[in-house]
């Protein structure tokens, strides 16, 4: 089965190819295979698969990548809209059934 793609043209992911030194760590950390290396420079291939986790930006040693991170979770938005404090409560990404950690 192919890769999941959520909405198109929404990710805030930006790559400054001029800054990139081609270390390749963004290829390593991205859980959705967004990057590839093209002659010692990183390129974005399928940006619509980006989930804005921020792993790439956090690990790029020259800050060539920027992305506005946040949890892609409707409940979190509802909670923050209602003024509840822990806006990132609904993290249950690991299928652990009733032993899920938060919420």
């Amino acid at each position: 089965m192919g890769q999941f793609i959520y909405l198109k043209n929404v990710t805030t992911l930006m790559l400054d190819e001029k800054k990139c030194v081609g270390c390749g760590i963004c290829l390593t950390v991205c859980p959705h295979g967004i990057f590839y290396l093209n002659e010692r420079h990183a390129r974005i291939s399928n940006r619509d698969a980006c989930m804005e986790c921020g792993a790439c930006a956090k690990n790029c040693p020259v800050e060539a990548i920027s992305v506005k991170t946040g949890v892609g979770c409707a409940i979190a938005f509802i909670n923050s809209f209602l003024g509840r404090s822990d806006s990132s409560c609904c993290c249950v990404i690991e299928p652990v059934g009733k032993e899920s950690t938060c919420c």
Binding site: M1, G2, Q3, F4, I5, Y6, L7, K8, V10, T11, T12, I25, T28, V29, C30, P31, H32, G33, A49, C50, M51, E52, C53, G54, A55, K58, N59, P61, K68, T69, G70, V71, G72, C73, A74, I75, A76, F77, S88, C90, C91, V92, I93, E94, P95, V96, G97, K98, E99, S100, T101, C102, C103
Partner: protein
Amino acid sequence: MSFTVDPGLYALGSPDRHSPVFVTANYKMSFDRLRNDLKNRDSWLLVLNTQGINVWCAAGKGSFGTDELSERIHTSGLSRIISHKDLILPQLSAPGVSAHVVHKNTGFNVRFGPVRSSDLPAFIDSGYKATPEMRLKNFPIMDRAALIPMELIIAMKWMLIIFPFVFMLSGLFGSGPFLSAAIRHGFFAAVMLTGGMTAGTIIAPLLLPWLPGRAFAMKGFSAAVIVLLPLLGLFSATSYPFPAFAEAFSLFLISSGVAMFLAMNFTGSSTFTSSSGVRKEMKWAVPIQIGCGIIGFGMWVWTLYAA
């Protein structure tokens, strides 16, 4: 019951100064899974204090982060115990851990291992190299199915609160004696609402890749159509006195609104929805859901009353 492990350094088997170091969260499931996947391999486990939250979530919140790792390297006295400078972290901790900053802080090299700890043996055996598949976070049907019970329990709690009102309103506004009206209209409404709930919490997650629409609310609506239309057909096919078209339509509105809302909430459990995307989806989906609820409810009460 405790779901946490004390942070610190643990020995797995009988590791020595050259054994690899694996870093994990102090969520018991994460720790146990890692321990299990590394069976018969002497190694060190460095457990960070993530307040009992799993790796991926803790990394997102920052508690599985650069600072905590740097701290823990110092407090555990790791550099006196091992003779090398390499740490292996789960790839999904990368949103919280900046490898080059950890190196600057501590002199240790962070190496990101595979996404799934079950791939660790293969990763180690190939000389600490991950295949492209090991680097991808997918969301197979089994993982989605495992999330259903939790989604269902939350939704069912709400249903249990709502159902008494549904039966009460049916009895009050429906034609005929209270009890018979409550049962006749209330049963129909309860079945339709349960159908909407099923669509949003079971059908939408299971059929996620195949349902039409990109937005989860849209997928929820598709799932609602799949569930509710056969239900309506069933009602008209049996000898059950088929309710007026308006009553059926109003309940379809409410129930598909419920399905859209519940499916939209599944974004929190999915592994590929971006924050910007969810925000964009909610901008149009939430007003539609509220509209479905209010218009559907008004229409339903009116049909009961008018009948």
